[in-house]
């Protein structure tokens, strides 16, 4: 019975962890493409100060524009290094000069990309204009479904794990009912009786959580690490991202265990 509780907790938290990492991956992709901007205007290295200023003014004055941020070549370089920190080959082979400066434009209505592009036609200093929205939209749609699906299944499994833990605790109480009866007769408080069972439930939750964390690391090393060298234009989730899930998974494991243990004990100890 304890095995069932632990294994269900493990699978549940593994799925929750996967959902969290998928979200982290999506966030990284968004970050690498310039953040939640709709339009990226990449600039030629040869752009002059005045052309730069003129372009900036033109963009900010457009009624469809919500905001404009400038990313210098240095900024671009620093960002790249940050995003691809776990892929040293990529960073070392990078010629920072190759990264262009850009204006990151946020629109009030993402559909207005065409209007902006048309207006900038012929403007000097522009290398190219990218419709981020179209790119990101596709990414979000695919990963969104995946992430939500995984999370939903994970939550359902957490509930199952909770039920299993509650049952393990209840079975334990039933098996020790003679001893518990004597404890009550002799004047033990309910808490004195509860604590060993609570600990049992929490240990089950922690083991399940621990296993899920270990497997998440294993999955990352097995599937993501090889991608660092192969698909180099995307930032992949790093060890730090996996580490970030640890407190969430442990907390979830313990919380579910505590709640489930209390529910399991209620029927026996409300005398």
């Amino acid at each position: 019975m304890a095995f069932a509780a632990i294994s269900t907790t493990f699978i549940a938290l593994l799925l929750v962890g996967l959902a969290l990492l998928t979200q982290a991956q999506v966030d990284l992709i968004v970050d690498s493409t310039g953040g939640k901007v709709e339009v990226s205007v990449f600039l030629l290295d040869t752009i002059s100060e005045s052309q730069n200023a003129e372009l900036s003014e033109k963009l900010t004055s457009m009624p469809e524009v919500a905001g404009v941020d400038y990313e210098s070549k240095d900024d671009a370089c620093a960002n790249f290094k940050r995003l691809f920190a776990d892929q040293p080959d990529l960073v070392n082979n990078l010629d920072c000069n190759a990264l262009p400066a850009s204006f990151k434009v946020r629109l009030k209505d993402p559909e207005q990309y065409g209007v902006i592009a048309a207006r900038l036609e012929g403007q000097p200093g522009i290398q190219r204009i990218v419709d981020q929205h179209a790119v990101l939209d596709k990414v979000f749609r695919v990963t969104g479904v995946f992430r939500q699906g995984v999370l939903a299944v994970g939550v359902l499994m957490l509930i199952s794990a909770g039920i299993l833990i509650a049952n393990t605790v209840r079975m334990g109480l039933y098996a020790r009912r003679k001893e518990i009866g004597i404890m009550k007769l002799v004047g033990a408080t309910n808490w004195f009786i509860r604590i060993p069972f609570l600990i049992e439930g929490i240990v089950e939750g922690l083991i399940g959580a621990g296993l899920s964390i270990v497997v998440l690391f294993a999955l990352k090393v097995t599937f993501i690490d090889p991608l660092y060298g192969k698909i180099t234009f995307l930032p992949w989730v790093q060890t730090s991202d996996v580490i970030a899930t640890i407190p969430i998974l442990l907390a979830a494991g313990v919380l579910v265990a505590v709640v489930a243990s209390f529910i399991g004990m209620r029927r026996f100890l409300d005398i």
Partner: protein, 228 residues
Amino acid sequence: MISVQHVSKTYKKTITALDEVSVEIEKGEFVFIVGPSGSGKSTFIRLLLKEEEPDSGSIYVAGKHLGGLSSWKVPYLRRNIGTVFQDYKLLSDRTVFQNVAFALEVIGKPKHVIDERVPEMLELVGLGDKINALPTELSGGEQQRVSVARAAVNRPLILLADEPTGNLDPATSQDIMKLLDRISRLGTTVVMATHDHTIVDAMRKRVVELDSGKVVRDQERGVYGVGS
């Protein structure tokens, strides 16, 4: 010490266990509750422990009104009451020492107190040489003595015994009764439910007789049956 006032208790609306029972027991008394099976003796004991609540009437134990006692306070009430039952109620996977120590552990007594009092108590009941035995290795009489030791180790105000000699032969029963008598002389109020004539007659303590839930006799230095 114990005041039972007009207490009635019915089970499943038809079975009357106790009917307007009133009994006053002073500190240090030794009282037998006698009567045939079904007369309400065990119910009486259970009410004193607040394992059940009366349908009507009031019960005061050590000055506290049981009716007004909230459930989280019940353990603290029971720490003042030692109990001995017919089936000994020992933990079969623990030694004699551990069984008696249990009563002290559960109320948070430190190890040095336990290590002092438990052997003392076991000597008192005559089990000094069986400290590390398991209940399965003991005779019925010895197990009951462990039970008595556990009941008394906390120096309770009251000791309740429900048919403690029920599973024991006459000779062993006498030994247990001597123990209970000794404990009573040390100041503990003893209330014992039994239908064992011989014991009651031999000891000439106060006898409260129940029949079909009613008190039919309350006699100092009594015997089991009237005219026996």
